[in-house]
């Protein structure tokens, strides 16, 4: 892989961007980004949330037109790139959430992406099937062409997306955090596919927040900061610390904030919780005040499902939930909120905040009765509160009146978190709180979580980031197959957590 990147220096780049700038209203999303992609290279794109990565992708795929700057594709200058043109020029983008037609089969999806000759052309079922099989084989997917996409798992859908891109003859493939929801084994399979693409002369733009992934996979890395390209380096010439420094413009310690003092008394107790709809069986668990309980496990182990049971999204069929020693009944999220349980969902871009509503309204949404006891809303008080949290959490927003939809993903996450901080809950459940969040904000969020625990909150934190779980948690509960298979102390080594999550017997409860 080392040679392919270096030899290609003399070739015409597949893609060259020169001082691209793009503004949305008063916001300069991109101020001058230069970037090039060689054939047969994996070029990682790295940057904080709001650094301009998504805008850049949208410009490359033709969804947005740049205000200034030049785009060259395979040596040819392109003046006005449209999505259709981008596709014709061999640009494909694989998003975190695969954009497939769920009700159609795999073969139909692939055929649609290849494009029919014309709308009245007869569908070549046999040919479509054979094509699909060929492309799926190339990406190493063991997926039947006739399978309905709805029934595929997330990684399988991702592979189908890549198969579509290959089928369409893509020369430039953009991958936006493709491993965010994959298990380790699935990640390795994806790496193999990416290397195979590179071997065939495809240029891959790879976006990821996982530094180790960039070092394992990429040939070069470009760092974006505040809408500008800071630097492009060969991966071999740079180390993690330097990368992080470029991203945030300052040193950041990777040290996790330490727990202060022993945990208090038990706040939340689960006894024999079962929930058929969520695949949760026989869960007993305790969380204490001032404690961060990490919920570890592979994707699909039932961690989010357990959180949803506790929060009443899919209520338990059997078992008992106790809060401060008293049995409580939670049938809806409203019940959970009334009892002082808060849940920050994983897919915040969809349901963590109400996109059309202003930031201030989003923050007070869960606590109207509490902060407005006289039952009508006092806008002055609400604005003041919102401004406090915008300042305290460092939310980048034009103001408290801006709708949540105008914020970047990381800032929406902070608004969602602020909502629960306003509610002053007893139990806070965080589902992947730093997923898709840049390194700088990650450290801030870690500090914030720790300080909340220090104030006596019982925190349950779900995370797929193993170092995060180990570094942050006072105690780690490992889930597998819808139940808890091991409870380990904080700071346990990664191996024992992983072993429990994978179901190796010797790991269960042996560490202390």
């Amino acid at each position: 892989m080392e040679t392919s990147a270096k030899n290609s220096d003399r070739l015409t780049p597949l893609l060259r961007l020169n001082s691209i700038a793009k503004a949305f209203g008063a916001v300069n999303a991109l101020k001058g980004v230069s970037f090039d992609l060689q054939p047969g290279e994996v070029h990682a794109l790295l940057g904080e949330n709001g650094a301009g990565k998504s805008t850049l992708i949208k410009i490359i795929t033709g969804a947005h037109q740049p205000d200034s700057g030049a785009i060259e594709i395979a040596g040819e200058s392109v003046s006005r790139l449209t999505p259709a043109m981008a596709r014709k020029l061999g640009i494909a983008c694989i998003y975190q959430q695969p954009a497939l037609f769920l009700d159609l089969t795999v073969a139909e999806n692939i055929a649609l992406r290849l494009g029919a000759k014309n709308a009245l052309h007869r569908v070549q079922w046999k040919e479509n099937r054979e094509n699909a099989e060929k492309f799926l084989r190339r990406v190493g997917a063991s997926v039947a062409p006739d399978a309905e996409v709805r029934r595929l798992s997330m990684p399988e859908q991702q592979l189908v997306e890549i198969a579509c891109a290959i089928g369409a003859g893509a020369r430039i493939v953009i991958m936006d955090e493709p491993t965010a929801s994959l298990t380790q084994k699935e990640q390795l399979l994806l790496y193999k596919v990416v290397r195979d693409l590179r071997g065939h002369g495809v240029g891959v733009i790879y976006i990821s927040h996982r530094l180790e992934e960039i070092f394992a996979l990429a040939d070069r890395v470009t760092v974006l900061r505040d809408g500008e390209s800071v630097a492009t380096n060969n991966v071999d010439d740079i180390d993690e610390t330097a990368l992080i420094r470029m991203m945030v413009g300052r040193e950041i310690s990777q040290v996790y904030p330490l727990s202060q003092g022993a945990p208090g008394k038990t706040v939340l107790t689960l006894r024999g919780i079962n929930c058929e709809a969520g695949g949760i069986r026989d869960i007993s668990l305790e969380v204490c005040a001032g404690e961060i309980l990490g919920l570890a496990g592979l994707v699909g182990a039932g961690r989010t499902e357990l959180a949803r049971v506790i929060f009443g999204v899919t209520p338990a069929d059997a078992g008992e939930i106790l809060l401060n020693g008293t049995t409580i009944f939670i049938d809806t999220p409203a019940d959970a909120v009334a009892h002082g349980i808060a849940y920050l969902p994983e897919d915040r871009r969809r349901h963590g905040v109400i996109l059309e509503m202003p930031i201030a309204a989003n923050m007070t949404m869960a606590v109207h009765q509490k902060i407005f006891p006289q039952s009508w809303l006092r806008f002055a008080a609400e604005r003041e509160l919102a401004d406090d949290y915008i300042r305290d959490l460092g939310i980048k927003a034009p103001g408290h009146d801006a709708t949540a939809s105008s914020l970047s993903g990381g800032n929406q996450q902070k608004v969602a978190l602020a909502r629960w901080l306003v509610a002053k809950p007893k139990v806070l459940i965080l589902d992947e709180p730093t997923q898709g969040v840049d390194v700088g904000a990650k450290v801030e969020i870690h500090k914030l979580i720790r300080s909340l625990a220090a104030k006596g909150l019982a925190v349950i934190m779900i995370s797929s980031d193993l170092p995060e779980i180990i570094g942050m948690s006072d105690r780690i509960a490992v889930m597998r197959g819808g139940t808890i298979v091991a409870q380990l102390p904080g700071g346990s080594d990664a191996h024992s957590v992983m072993a429990a999550a994978l179901g190796q017997r010797e790991a269960e409860g042996t560490h202390s």
């Binding site: 409203a334 909120v337 905040v353 109400i354 996109l355 059309e356 949404m365 809303l377 009146d401 909502r419």
Partner: protein, 310 residues
């Protein structure tokens, strides 16, 4: 919720129409015809308030015309039995609320699509009424007219009642938590649920309120004539929905106010008399109303395109 952009277009259109009339047909501005126009439309305004909330909640209720007929006939029968008018009013509101609750139960609890549910109740109520009454008019006792207030006082009472209700509901929509819940549920019901709001309750309550307001509107209509036509309220749902859409409430829910639909209603009902005053043939009225609704929908579409963020 932000700014008043959504209300601007109906406001401008209305202002343009009024200026046009002032310049070319000042005969439009006569107290008595205007008073009767507003009185006639006061019940519609009450229903527009309810429908605005329904549509902000991302629902629709096309059964309100039939509910209106049922409430009118029942209230008429009670009045004919010489119940005190205040009691008749309460009965009409309660009956409307019950019918609204039935819609609410089916939509919120059974999670059925509102268009199908209210289509079913629309037909059911209307045909049930036809079958029971065989198209028979209800004759009202004399004391029911204008609540016994006399015509001008009664007209003023009805108009101010509708305006006060509008003001109260507009205030509630913006300043009460309950109002904000409707916006939240209309924007994203799942996100609202995860914020601890009970979307089913909110949806149910909105439908029940719509029904209650329809009952009130039926009563406000009843006192204006000596008879109750069992066919009253036919097509009323379309007029009400049209006013809401023209008033800038997003049909996709979550956005809009009550003031916009108020202006939308004024615009739609002023057209008829305006055309007469301008000596344009009356059959242009429906065509113009249709064009206004179409414009409102197109404007909404353009607005959505512009509001797209990166």
């Amino acid at each position: 919720m932000k700014g008043h952009l959504r209300e601007l277009s109906p406001a401008f259109a209305l202002a343009a129409l009024l200026l046009l009339l002032a310049a070319f047909a000042p005969g439009f501005y006569q107290l008595h015809p205007l008073l009767s126009l507003f009185t006639r439309e006061a019940p519609t305004l009450v229903m527009v308030c309810g429908m605005s909330l329904i549509i902000i909640c991302r629902q629709i209720d096309i059964s309100v015309g039939s509910q209106f007929a049922i409430c009118s006939v029942c209230a008429g029968l009670l009045a004919a039995m010489h119940w005190p008018l205040a009691l008749v009013l309460v009965a009409s509101v309660v009956l409307g609320a019950v019918m609204g609750s039935i819609n609410g139960l089916l939509v919120a609890v059974l999670q059925l699509p509102c268009i199908v549910v209210t289509l079913a109740t629309m037909v059911t109520w209307r045909q049930g009424l036809n079958w029971l009454r065989q198209g028979e008019f209800v004759n009202l006792p004399d004391n029911a007219q204008w609540f016994g207030l006399g015509q001008v006082a009664g007209q003023c009472a009805l108009i101010s009642a509708a305006l006060i209700l509008l003001a109260l509901m507009a205030f509630a929509a913006r300043h009460l938590a309950a109002g904000r819940y409707i916006y939240a549920v209309g924007s994203d019901a799942e996100a609202a649920r995860l914020a601890g709001i009970r979307p089913k309750r909110v949806t149910f309550a909105t439908f029940a309120l719509m029904g209650a307001l329809t009952g009130l509107a039926a009563m406000m209509n009843l006192v204006q004539s000596p008879q109750v036509d069992p066919k009253s309220g036919t097509g009323l749902e379309l007029k009400v929905i049209a006013a809401v859409v023209v008033g800038g409430v997003a049909i996709s829910g979550g956005r809009g106010t009550l003031w916009g639909p108020f202006l939308g209603l004024l615009l739609l009902v002023a057209i008829g008399p305006a055309l007469t005053q301008l000596h344009v043939e009356a059959y242009w009225e429906k065509a113009l109303q249709g064009a206004i609704i179409l414009l409102a929908v197109v404007a909404e579409g353009l607005r959505n395109r512009k509001e797209k963020v990166y």
